[in-house]
Every structure is written in structure tokens, then in C-alpha cells.
Subunit: 411 residues, 2 copies
């Protein structure tokens, strides 16, 4: 396995620790990572200790073990999840630990497996993970998600290219879109993060009550939650620590109203969901709910996803990303949400972020629900933006303002 | 890295799952393993799913990360331990999960590090692990410990031999002493396990109240706990599952009385304790307590160990192993407790096993303490047997029976 340029990998690890999760002296760090990410996880561990972390714990996962389970375990195994481990993570977050996820996996790992079993395993996992996830979605602690160039992922992104070269090219792409190859990546992210915050402010000042999308196969009016707030991925967690929750990130995002989305929308990029590729999605929403759903590929998995629970067929996030984003400009289909969602405007079904409502973290759940907040054990982003999509911001009084034209910011 | 004969590794994994932990249909399995053990962990995972496990979770550790912490983390980090993770494990055991530890590490990993920091980290870890350990020491669930040939370990066992060859020779040694190279390893272990149980019965029938050790540098009278029970590593856990807690195992063991050990004793093999090698131990016990302690090597670590808590300087286990055991006959110094403790009779400082008192699991702690049971956050075995040691069993009435002569069973 060829390794990326060692100096760049080291800078990437440092960027992750300083600009991404921004670990604080005395803080514990909980990292999740596939086994293949061990070289990066080790460098991150070193930088975290240099920055004063008291303890870094890496929870490794193993795709081969996951696959073996689907091939060999008894049928009733698939409703079981490691709740005890997730409860342990929740305890760590409650105690003030920061969280880092290293992602990058075989996007088609489970594509040959029984979709019903995959759906049951996904649901059991999502339900068991919920207590830990609430610290993340509620932004109680500083956290971040970054990628590493998993060999199977690299092969999927660069089909036909020998694995070693594919891994190298994927690392180059990761270093480019995360600005790791800039002279001062930490400074570059401070600047980019401020730019995204300016864009969020412009949208907040616009006081739109809905967004209207039009384009090929898309005619959607997406109502926004009451007192919704546009945010960028960089922000101050409730523990007072500024972190950038995704590296890379190009989006500004807010909360759709769970009951006020009407029309049809088409996906513009494939979506990799827990080892299954879902492509060519077309859905119709009525009263905020997805009432019709089709996909050219992975339709069964899409339907299972939407049936996970009551909130899985409603929206929890709407995000705007210009078509000229560096990720889109790379011309690559990453088949990984962290990248692809930053190549295009997107929506997510499932759990909403309470912080995308003003004072959301302190309001009771019933009030948040009345204001339009959706709840679910899942949160899955999929891309609906392209250079063919126009978006208007619509105010209460019916007046409309161009927000995006041909996939770019209208102003 | 050369891998061992793939077929033998597979049989070893199967032996571990079937004879060692004896995983039951529907049961979860929690495995701890160093990163380097991933190939074995994967094979074990497969066999566990074949045997009906519902979920196998491998918690990987990374020596490089441990070392980085000692080199880079701030001083006050060393009183911190991942209690949240250990509490998660305890929750898994409470829910009925089985436990497997894959061991094999660099015996000198931390030998260059500040012994005071190492001691603080060991203590913090031991205290945090206690709730999980109680399920193990109380034999509430089926569990087992097996080894894998870690490269740094192999280099320590075969100094001067190139790493690849050292790893191969260590695997061969592991396969030999675990009987993996026999035609039917599972049957061989059933037979061997029955033989150890017969030996335990003979000792129980002897109704000794103390053991008397004599040999070079050793003159020790070791009182046994009231109503103590001799056990072998193979036995039925409280969840009803028969497992063999150590592979290999050659010992029969019981509980010393925490206040009734008098005299001097010398170690006969080095002891590897959390990355530090302790050799040439000489201690004097009075009223069950180690009141003088010396070591030719690692004396500071030995003293820190004994000072961990009140029970760390008293005994929690006494075990008898004939000098002709296969591990002793291999002529190798493994520098790993799992092997070395099965090469010689040994004692352990620290936590006792409640099950080595009749009905121990059901008696209140105060009663167990009165009967002689020791408690501590540590349990560390060290070897005091050799071909030069004689052991007598002494009864209440003062009569004595030869138990071992020249390191072998007297009958
Ligand atoms: Zn998003
Ligand atoms: Zn999202
Ligand atoms: Zn023992
Ligand atoms: Zn022991």
C-alpha cells in the first residue's frame, strides 16, 4: 500500500486536530476509524497529545468483520447493535470528550448482501447510537469528520486505475479540497470559515420563510422552520470550543419545516448509504413527507431508509453549496457524503440540528417540534443541486429574491 | 510480515472460539486486541459468527499510540483512563456478552518511560477497569485469554533472530503449547482439562490449610483461605457456559489467606508488567503482607505495583504447575504471563478470585474478607516454581504431605 507524502499527511493530521476538532488541553478525544486509517489515526493521536489532550482513544472498525457478519451470522443477529459501546461514547461526551470521525470506506461493501438484513442492522445501529449522537447533533461538544483514502474507496472513485495509484490520487484530491496543500492550511481555513459565516449572515438577514427550487425534474417549495438560523460548519460548540465539524466544508445550512415541503425533487449525484449505492432518486413531498420515492439503483435500500421511523421520510436539513465549489470543480464523484454534499446543494432526511433554530438547544422538544424540527434516528444527506438549478428565497409576504442562479450564488 | 501457516491459524481461531471462550448462539462477543492481531481477530470473528454469535466487537489497542502518549502528553494526563469505555464493557458483560482477550505485546514498550508516570497510568487504568473486571474475576460470564505472535514480542523471545523468522518461531511455539498442532485440538483440550480437574480434586481432598515452600532463597509458609477450593482454568461460568479461561493453561490454583503468609520467596522467572520487565524479585512476607521487596531489574516498578493500593502487597492467588509442563519444556522465556505462569508454580499479588472459596460468588464481601480473600485493583502473577522447589501440603493438625518434589507432582 503506497502511503501519501508523509509531510502532507502530517499537516493534514495537524489541521484536523487544530482547525477541525480543535482539541483543548486536558480534553479526551474519542476517534472512530476503520483499521485501514491507522497511519492517519496515529499522526492525529500525536498531534492531539502535543495540543494537550489527556487521552486519545481510537475505536477501530473493520469492514471485513462487518462483511463476515452478513455472510455467516444467524438471521436474528441483525437486530443487535453494540449499544454498550455507544453508551460508553455518550458517557465520554457527557464527561467533556471531543469527537473525531475518520471516514472513507468501500462504498459498495454490502451491495451483494440481503437488503432486508442491511436495513435491520442499520436501524438497530441507529437506535443504539442515538444517545451518543445527541451530543453531536446538539453540538454539545467540539467534533469533526475528516476523510482518509481507503483503498476500496479509491478504487471506486478511480475505476480501472491500479489500486496504488488510485489511493495516491485520492489522497491528492483530499489534500487539495481540504486546502492541506496550501502554504498555511490553518490560516486558509480561518479565512474560508469566515467567508461561509458571511454567507450565512446574508441568508439570515434575508428572512426567507421558504426556498423555491426549479430545474430539470425538480419543482420544490421548501418551507423553513420558524426562527430557523443559517449556519456554517465552523462554529462554537456549547462547551465554548470553536470547531469545524466537517473538513472539507463548503455549505451553509438550516432547518426545513418538517410539515411544509411540497413538490418534486431529483437527486443530482449518487448517494452511498452504509455500503449501498443509491442513484437516480426521484421523490414527491406532500405536507413535508416523502409520499412517493423511486431510485434507478438501490431503490429497496432507499425505501428501507425512509421507513426507518416516522421522521425518516421528512427533512432535517437544507444546505446551499455553489456549483463552483472546489469539490465540484475536482470533477470527481467521491461516493462519500463528506465530499459529495460539498459539491452541491443538498437536503437530508431524518434528524435535524436543534441549533439551526434560534436558541434551539435550550427549547423543550415539544416547542421545537411545533416550530418545524424533525426527529429521527437517521440523518442522510443527498444532493439536489447542479448548474441547472435555480433557487429563490421567498418571504412571508410572497416576495421572492434570487438566491442561486445556475447553481451559483445570485449575488 | 510473514503470516503463520494459514490453516494452523484458522484451527487456532476455531479452538479459541470453541474450547476457549465457547461462544453460545445469540451471544455477543467482546474482544480486545492490539492492532497487529487483526488477522487472528478476523478469523476468530468468522468462527464466532459460524458458532452463532450475534455481534463480535473487537476493541483494538495501539502500542504506538500508548508510547506517543508517554512521549507527548502533558503531565496531568497520566491520571486519566477510559472509564467510559470500560463501563461500556461492563454493560456488555451485564447484558450477557462473552469476553476474549488477544494478548502479545512488546514486553519492554515502556521501559524507557518515567516509571512514576507509568505507575500513575497503570493505577488509573486499573481503578477504571474494576467494574468490568468484576464480571471476569467473579466468572459471571464465559471468557478466555489467548496469545498472538506480536513482532516486538517475538524479537524479545528470540533475540538476535531476524523479525520474520522470530515471528514464525513464536507462532510455532504458540501452536505447540496450545496443542493446535494436534490432529484434534478440541478433543485434546477436553482431555487435558479433565486431567487438571482431577488434580484439583486431589488437592481439595487433601484438605490442606497451608503450603510450605522450600528451595534456594525460598522458605515460605503460605496459609490458604478458609474453605478455599482448588480450580483449573476450565470451568463453568455463572451463566452456565463451560469455558477455558486461558489457552494454554497448565495450572491448578486457589486462594491464599490474605493475612497468613510468612517467610521469604524468590522469583524464578522475569515478569513483564505493562511494558516493564521485572526480574530477580526477592520479597519477605509477614502477616500476609509483603514488608520487604527487592528486584535486580525494574525494582521501582515493582514497588509502585505493590503500593497501588492496600491489597497490592498481599496475595490473591497461588497456583501449582509441574516443571515438566509443555511450556517449561519449550525452554523459552516468553516474557508473557499467559505462558510463563504455565511454566512454573506461581503466586499473584492483588485481587483474588471469589470462586476459589466454596460458594464464594454468593457470600457477602465482608464474609469473604474474614475468610482470607484479598481485594485490589491489580492482579499480577509471578513465578516462584522451579526444579529446585519442594512443596508440602500442611493440615490443621500439623501433619504434612509431599505435594511437589523437585518441581514435579509428588504423586
Ligand atoms: Zn449538509
Ligand atoms: Zn447533513
Ligand atoms: Zn495463575
Ligand atoms: Zn493469576
Amino acid at each position: 500500500m503506497p502511503m501519501p507524502d508523509n509531510q502532507l499527511l502530517d499537516r493534514y493530521a495537524e489541521l484536523t486536530v487544530r482547525s477541525g476538532v480543535n482539541i483543548q488541553p486536558g480534553q479526551q478525544l474519542v476517534v472512530t476509524a476503520p483499521l485501514e486509517a491507522a497511519p492517519l489515526a496515529r499522526k492525529i493521536t500525536e498531534h492531539a497529545y502535543r495540543a494537550g489532550a489527556s487521552l486519545v482513544t481510537v475505536l477501530y472498525s473493520d469492514e471485513q468483520a462487518t462483511l463476515a457478519r452478513f455472510q455467516l451470522a444467524p438471521d436474528d443477529a441483525f437486530d443487535v447493535a453494540p449499544g454498550w459501546l455507544f453508551n460508553g461514547m455518550a458517557e465520554a461526551f457527557k464527561g467533556g470528550a471531543a469527537r473525531l470521525a475518520l471516514v472513507g470506506e468501500d462504498p459498495a461493501l454490502l451491495s451483494e448482501q440481503d437488503p432486508a438484513k442491511v436495513a435491520r442492522a442499520n436501524k438497530a445501529r441507529a437506535v443504539a447510537y442515538r444517545p451518543a449522537l445527541e451530543y453531536i447533533s446538539g453540538f454539545a461538544i467540539n467534533w469533526s469528520i475528516v476523510a482518509f483514502a481507503h483503498p476500496a474507496w479509491a478504487r471506486a472513485v478511480f475505476p480501472g486505475v491500479p489500486e496504488g495509484e488510485a489511493v495516491e490520487r485520492l489522497w491528492q484530491a483530499i489534500f487539495a479540497v481540504t486546502r492541506t496543500d496550501r502554504p498555511d492550511p490553518v490560516a486558509a481555513w480561518a479565512e474560508h470559515s469566515a467567508e461561509l459565516e458571511r454567507r450565512a449572515k446574508w441568508l439570515n438577514d434575508g428572512r426567507f420563510s421558504a426556498l423555491r427550487y426549479s430545474g430539470p425534474g425538480t419543482d420544490l417549495t421548501l418551507g423553513l422552520a420558524d426562527e430557523h438560523k443559517w449556519l456554517a460548519a465552523g462554529g462554537k460548540a456549547k462547551n465554548g470550543v470553536f470547531c469545524i465539524a466537517n473538513l472539507p466544508t463548503e455549505e451553509v445550512f438550516t432547518m426545513p419545516h418538517r410539515e411544509r415541503v411540497e413538490g418534486t425533487v431529483r437527486s443530482t449525484k449518487p448517494l452511498s448509504y452504509n455500503g449501498t449505492l443509491i442513484d437516480g432518486i426521484r421523490v414527491r413531498l406532500k405536507g413535508g413527507r416523502i409520499v412517493e420515492a423511486f431510485a434507478e439503483k438501490g431503490e429497496e435500500t432507499l425505501r428501507s431508509l425512509l421507513a426507518t421511523d416516522e421522521g425518516a421520510a421528512r427533512l432535517g436539513e437544507v444546505a446551499l453549496v455553489p456549483h463552483s465549489s472546489p469539490i465540484s470543480q475536482s470533477g470527481l464523484l467521491f461516493q462519500n457524503t463528506l465530499f459529495d454534499e460539498n459539491a452541491a446543494s443538498h437536503i437530508a432526511v431524518g434528524q435535524a440540528y436543534p441549533d439551526t433554530i434560534a436558541g434551539g438547544g435550550r427549547r423543550p422538544k415539544e416547542e421545537l417540534a411545533r416550530m418545524g424540527m424533525n426527529e429521527s434516528v437517521v440523518h442522510v444527506d443527498w444532493m439536489i443541486g447542479s448548474e441547472e438549478i435555480d433557487i429563490d428565497g421567498v418571504r412571508e409576504d410572497g416576495s421572492a429574491v434570487p438566491v442561486m442562479r445556475g447553481g451559483e450564488w445570485a449575488e
